[in-house]
């Protein structure tokens, strides 16, 4: 469904992505794991159109989208939930969700979708009229994910949804992602928390210093010594 081939990107003179190849099939949950500054967010921003690649191509269902503006990509079915739990803090939960359906033409289907979101995230339903900024970090992340889903995307991009959240909230978010996957949603998940990402994903790419250093199923990656050392603290066994 979504395919990146030979994507490179720069910030000024610094090359931040080196010829990335990445594929997300329909209905797949693919994780992009890597440390801070490995290029995860840049990749997500490139797919959403918030940043331009220096070279390479991005296709959605076979159509090149690399030159399109963000609004065009949203209407083609790409929704980014940006990192850092970004919500419209002054607006209510309900308003935030409504904004998520911004580009949709099917105005009369929005209310049923909002109801579906409240069924999926009951806590948001209880607080639909609360200002999003006054909610806890985990709840704000739920608002952000629900808002992303309100765009009715073909492919949902989740950028670091667990960053800075308590372990119990991380579990909740994993459960949400797995539920979305069961419902057939295509998801690309950028995560620093490799344990969580490998638990929910069907395939994963490891990004290090702007290049893909490993890829495969979670089992393959967990077994790989490079990944184990980098992300599961296996180096402590050396001592």
């Amino acid at each position: 469904m979504l395919e990146l081939s030979a994507i490179s990107a720069h910030y000024g003179k610094n090359q931040v992505l080196r010829s990335i190849d990445l594929k997300v099939g329909a209905g797949e949950v693919v994780a992009l794991i890597g440390a801070n500054a490995a290029g995860k967010s840049t990749t997500m921003r490139l797919i959403a159109g918030l940043k331009r690649a220096t070279s390479g191509s991005i296709t959605l269902d076979g159509t090149e989208i690399g030159g399109l503006s963000t609004p065009k990509r949203v209407s083609l079915g790409i929704a980014l939930v940006p990192e850092g739990r970004q919500v419209f803090a002054q607006s209510t939960v309900l308003e935030n969700l409504t904004m998520g359906a911004y580009h949709r033409a099917d105005r009369n289907h929005i209310q049923p979708d909002i109801d579906a979101m409240f069924a999926m995230f009951p806590r948001l339903g209880e607080r639909r009229n609360q200002r999003a900024g006054s909610m806890s970090g985990g709840e704000q992340q739920m608002v952000a994910i629900a808002r992303g889903l309100m765009a009715k995307p073909k492919c949902l991009l989740l950028d670091e949804p667990t960053l800075g959240l308590a372990p119990v909230i991380v579990d909740e978010i994993s459960a949400t992602v797995m539920k979305l996957a069961r419902d057939g949603m295509t998801i690309l998940l950028a995560e620093q928390n490799a344990a969580m990402a490998l638990e929910v994903a069907s395939r994963a790419y490891v990004l290090a210093a702007g290049a893909i250093s490993a890829q495969g199923t979670p089992e393959q990656l967990k077994a790989s010594p490079v990944v184990a050392q980098l992300y599961f603290g296996a180096e402590t066994t050396d001592a």
Partner: protein
């Protein structure tokens, strides 16, 4: 639209107040309110700190008068020419600024540079603008009114109602705009531009729209201002003029409908009423501005709304 009720007493005021001085002060207040309401759309609405509104104000008065002078147009058609000029200028400048993703400070500095450029043109294109000497405007706007036919706006009372009606229309437009989906897109951009973009909002187009609307409103204030005072000069386009409008919006309450009007009331009417010398006025402006930013960041209207809410909660 509740904000408009606030203007009703002003319609009745001339029945009680017969002093021309008082009405004159209010006419200036209304004119500068229109400028401030326009600025509030791009700043309080879409969050873009423009410094171009004084230039749009000046272009409004120059273009209206010059097209009347050279093409023999009546005031309102002359103003239509000014609108076309301002829209074109806004699109060019806005396009440059927003294509290069200029934000906050950088946007303010670049728009200020363009405003200065316009002022320098008005100052140095002597053959057309008469340069620093300015231009005397003897023509008056005319209006067609039922029963009385074509009326020349000359008397203070006529100007009072013309400017007040203009302010009412601009304020109603701004209230409707802010509540529409366009206004919601503006706020989304103000609150979080990146996020607005990921939701599919064409932020470039909406910023350009906000900038253009705000400049057209500023040019309307400018056109009326030039014809009311009967004099047009390059200082209409000056940075201080822009700063005055910013001060009004901040004092009255940014992102509120009525804020710019309240701010203009305080900053235009008060100095006249307490007969402050001109030199002191600037100092008092500065003091008020500092105090407002430190003590009530949401302005007078924001503060009042907060107090009313608290009262409602307590009872």
């Amino acid at each position: 639209m509740k904000a408009l009720w606030f203007l009703i007493p002003l319609y009745l005021l001339p029945l009680v107040v017969k002093s021309d001085t008082m009405l004159t002060v209010l006419i200036f207040t209304f004119l500068l309110s229109i400028l401030a309401v326009g600025f509030n759309i791009v700043f309080g609405g879409a969050g873009q700190l423009t410094m171009f509104h004084a230039a749009a104000f000046g272009i409004g008065s120059y273009a209206t008068f010059l097209s009347m002078l050279h093409f023999g147009l009546p005031f309102w058609l002359g103003y239509l020419v000014a609108v076309v000029v301002v829209v074109l200028v806004s699109i060019v400048i806005g396009w440059i600024c927003f294509k290069f993703r200029l934000k906050e400070f950088y946007f303010a500095v670049v728009t200020m540079a363009f405003a200065e450029l316009c002022r320098l043109i008005a100052l140095n294109w002597t053959s057309v603008t008469n340069g620093t000497l300015g231009m005397l405007v003897l023509e008056k706007p005319t209006l067609w009114l039922p029963r009385s036919g074509i009326v020349k706006i000359e008397q203070t009372a006529a100007w009072y109602f013309l400017t007040l009606v203009s302010l009412t229309v601009v304020l109603a437009f701004s209230a409707l705009l802010m509540r529409s989906w366009i206004g919601r897109n503006f706020s989304a951009i103000r609150l979080n531009e990146d996020l607005a973009q990921t939701l599919g909002i064409d932020t470039f187009r909406y910023k350009l729209l906000a900038f253009t609307i705000s400049n057209v409103i500023a040019s309307f204030a400018g056109a009326l201002y030039g014809f009311y005072t009967g004099f047009i000069e390059p200082s209409y386009l000056s940075v201080t003029q822009s700063l005055d409008a910013i001060a009004m919006v901040l004092l009255g309450g940014v992102s509120t409908i009525l804020g710019p009007v309240v701010g203009s009331m305080v900053l235009t009417s008060l100095p006249h009423l307490i007969e402050l010398p001109a030199e002191l006025r600037v100092a008092v402006y500065g003091m008020i501005l500092i105090l407002v930013i430190l003590l009530m960041p949401r302005g007078i209207v924001g503060l009042a709304a907060g107090l009313l809410k608290r009262r409602a909660h307590a009872s």
